[in-house]
């Protein structure tokens, strides 16, 4: 596979501990602009840790390695700086924040990003019609607008809300942490349509998943298999199908 000189995201030899326990162990991965890469792996292989470290969640200690995003040292940025620079994490378990309105969060997030880019605050009317349009794509009801962030949402609604936020913020790098977990097939298709609608030569996605299912709808350019904190194998989309057929033990065995 050929790689452009400066990938959107370059992770080199990344090692991470949580509470003193080694989770990522010399992980190296390159994600060029315009591509969708899947990171698959068994439970406990470090998939979610990778997603969180990239977003800047506290509690993870990077013991070695580098992460470069558009040529910048990503690990040196605070979580909010990463977000404003175009990095988006779709949470596996989005938190409920009763009392903080969905529209407020969307607007505050978008304006934070616009401010970073030297743009004026978004016009309230244009903003609402833009949000409504994207809500239609995600098949969300209007009442959602007035509710608290994820408040009383079902698992599927929370995931759709994550994708809606992504559509509003239009990140350059989207990291989706098990966005498919807990979704029925209809919701999965909606979520996939949302992810696909953002595909473009300037944007990249890192899709973290345990199952191949989502990858039938969001077709990846590259599939990486994560085992015990490092990439054990990379390949094209057929690798996902093969994993599904042969199970993770196949790769785990090789990596051991």
């Amino acid at each position: 596979m050929t790689r452009s000189a400066t990938p959107m995201l370059a992770i080199r030899d990344l090692s991470v501990t949580v509470d003193g326990k080694q989770i990522l162990n010399g992980l190296t991965l390159e994600l060029p602009a315009g591509e969708v890469h899947a990171v698959m792996g068994p439970n406990g292989s470090g998939k979610s840790t990778l997603a969180h470290v990239l977003a800047g969640r506290p509690g993870y200690e990077v013991t070695s390695g580098t992460v470069t995003y558009e040529g910048r040292d990503l690990l040196a940025l605070a979580p909010e700086e990463r977000a404003r620079a175009g990095v988006f994490l779709g949470f596996q378990y989005p938190v409920e924040i009763p009392g903080v309105n969905n529209v407020y969060l969307l607007k505050a997030a978008l304006n934070a990003q616009r401010k970073e880019r030297g743009l004026p605050e978004v016009d309230a009317f244009e903003f609402l019609s833009m949000v409504r349009e994207k809500m239609q794509l995600m098949q969300m009801e209007d009442s959602f607008l007035s509710r608290g962030v994820n408040e009383g949402f079902s698992g599927g609604e929370k995931k759709r809300n994550e994708i809606l936020q992504m559509l509003v913020l239009e990140p350059k790098l989207a990291i989706l942490d098990e966005t498919d977990s807990g979704l029925d097939i209809d919701a999965l298709k909606i979520v996939a349509a949302g992810v696909n609608s953002l595909r473009s030569p300037e944007r990249s996605s890192l899709v973290v998943t345990h199952y191949q299912r989502l990858l039938e709808y969001v077709v990846p350019d590259v599939v990486h298999v994560l085992v015990r904190g490092r990439i054990a194998r990379s390949g094209d989309r057929t690798l996902a199908a093969e994993l599904e057929r042969r199970g993770y033990d196949w790769v785990s065995g090789e990596a051991a």
């Binding site: 979580p79 009392g99 407020y104």
Partner: protein, 443 residues
């Protein structure tokens, strides 16, 4: 009570009694209260339930009613500007330093709720309502009500007739006198006859930044099947001192929903005593307190379940920032025979600064079987997961924290069913938090 303080109160009381018009009703009541107070004394910080209150201001307070010492309020126009916006459908009655201000108030109108001032009894042949406090054993928790009774010369007496139509009233108590010039004694006596309904807003505000000394007392008798929705907003100036006492008694199937929001005063102490005396009566107490700088917001709430199958739902949310102290001590006592009691307490405190203090304390005393009582109390910082979620969307730290503080109060604010009032309160709370303009976006 320390001797100098007792002597000072008694001496000021005697002078006030001489200065008062002989026509004012309740002279006997006032002097009886003074005698009881002299015997019992005011609580001290060593008294149970008074540990968190700031009692020091008593040492330099003047107890003489401001209405006796301050010039007659010709400044009504200036005061009018300090009043909050009118709420549609609510008849408004304003008291300045505890004394009724007709120029700022609606004319008392006929309707299901009869509003009278205690002073008005002077011109009629009616006897004013009986003493607010039962005589006899008065615990430390009722002694500021005694102080109110000893000095109050006016107040609101509200009588809601039996029936179904809900009445809506707003009482505003404006504290305008400086503490050195005199104190004020807001006083409310409520009686709801059977199935009477009342929505009552009770506000305590300041004119300008007066360092007033306010001792308020409210009593509510809620009759059989009656419903009282009571909104209490304490928005005094940041130099004011408040000692507040509320007592309520619920008859069979009575419902009392009390919403208390305290964000003002330098030091505020609220003592709530609620008695569920009738079967299947129901109490909802939702309270929020905000403390900043060196403020003290202290609430003690006693709920006594005395009859079977009564319910209590108690919610408190307090935020303490700066070097403030915010305390809520909620005690629920289930008496012998009060089987089928259902009580829930959810008390939560949020520490918003390294030097701030939060004390939330649920207490439960149960003297019968077959009850369902639950309580939860937490005090801590902002939720890390929520904070990271907002940061991961690009919000800066300050904005994210403000949004979460706001969300923390939501459990209490969302229960305010009078929409226009809720909006006023949200504006007020937003203004009380740093960078309120940004918070208004949340409303």
């Amino acid at each position: 009570m320390s001797h100098p303080l007792a002597a000072r109160i008694a001496e000021q009381h005697a002078r006030a009694a001489r200065a008062l018009s002989a026509h004012l009703p309740g002279a006997a009541r006032r002097s009886a209260a003074m005698e009881a107070l002299a015997a019992a004394g005011l609580p001290g910080s060593r008294d149970e339930n008074w540990k968190y209150a700031n009692l020091r201001p008593l040492e330099r307070a003047s107890f003489t009613p401001a209405a006796l010492t301050a010039p007659d309020s010709a400044a009504d126009a200036a005061l009018a500007a300090a009043l909050p916006a009118r709420l549609e459908g609510f008849a408004r009655y304003v008291f300045v330093d505890g004394v009724f201000a007709p120029a700022l108030s609606d004319a008392p109108a006929a309707g299901p709720a009869q509003f009278r001032t205690l002073g008005a009894f002077a011109e009629s042949h009616d006897t004013p309502p009986a003493a607010l406090l039962p005589r006899g054993e008065l615990g430390a928790d009722q002694r500021f009500a005694l102080l109110n009774e000893a000095f109050a010369t006016d107040g609101a007496a509200i009588h809601v007739a039996a029936g179904h139509e809900a009445a809506r009233l707003e009482l505003i108590f404006v504290a305008s006198a400086e503490g050195q010039l005199g104190a004020s004694y807001p006083r409310v006596e409520l009686r709801l006859e059977s199935r009477g309904q009342l929505e009552l807003i009770e506000r305590h505000v300041s004119a300008a930044a007066a360092a007033s000394f306010v001792t308020s007392a409210v009593s509510a008798q809620i009759g059989r099947g009656a419903a009282l929705d009571h909104y209490r907003l304490q928005e005094l100036s940041s130099r004011a001192i408040l000692f507040d006492t509320l007592t309520a008694t619920l008859a069979q199937e009575a419902s009392y929903r009390l919403h208390a929001l305290g964000s003002g005063a330098a030091a505020a102490r609220s003592t709530l005593s609620m008695r569920l005396a009738g079967e299947r009566s129901a109490l909802t107490l939702s309270a929020a307190a905000l403390g900043d700088r060196q403020q003290v917001q202290d609430t003690y709430a006693l709920v006594e379940h005395q009859a079977p199958h009564a319910r209590t739902e108690e919610t408190f949310r307090g935020i303490s920032a700066g070097r403030a102290r915010v305390a809520f001590n909620g005690k629920i006592v289930v008496a012998r025979g009060a089987h089928g009691t259902d009580s829930r307490q959810s008390l939560r405190g949020l520490l918003a600064g390294p030097e701030a203090e939060i004390d939330v304390r649920p207490q439960l005393e149960i003297y019968t079987d077959d009850v369902r009582c639950s309580h939860g109390a937490t005090a801590g910082k902002l939720d890390d997961h929520m904070l990271f979620y907002l940061l991961s969307r690009g919000l800066d730290h300050d904005t994210a924290q403000r949004a979460l503080k706001w969300a923390f109060l939501e459990d209490v604010v969302a229960r305010i069913e009078v929409a226009a009032l809720r909006r006023q309160i949200e504006e007020r709370l937003a203004g009380r938090m740093q960078d309120g303009a940004a918070l208004r976006e949340l409303i």
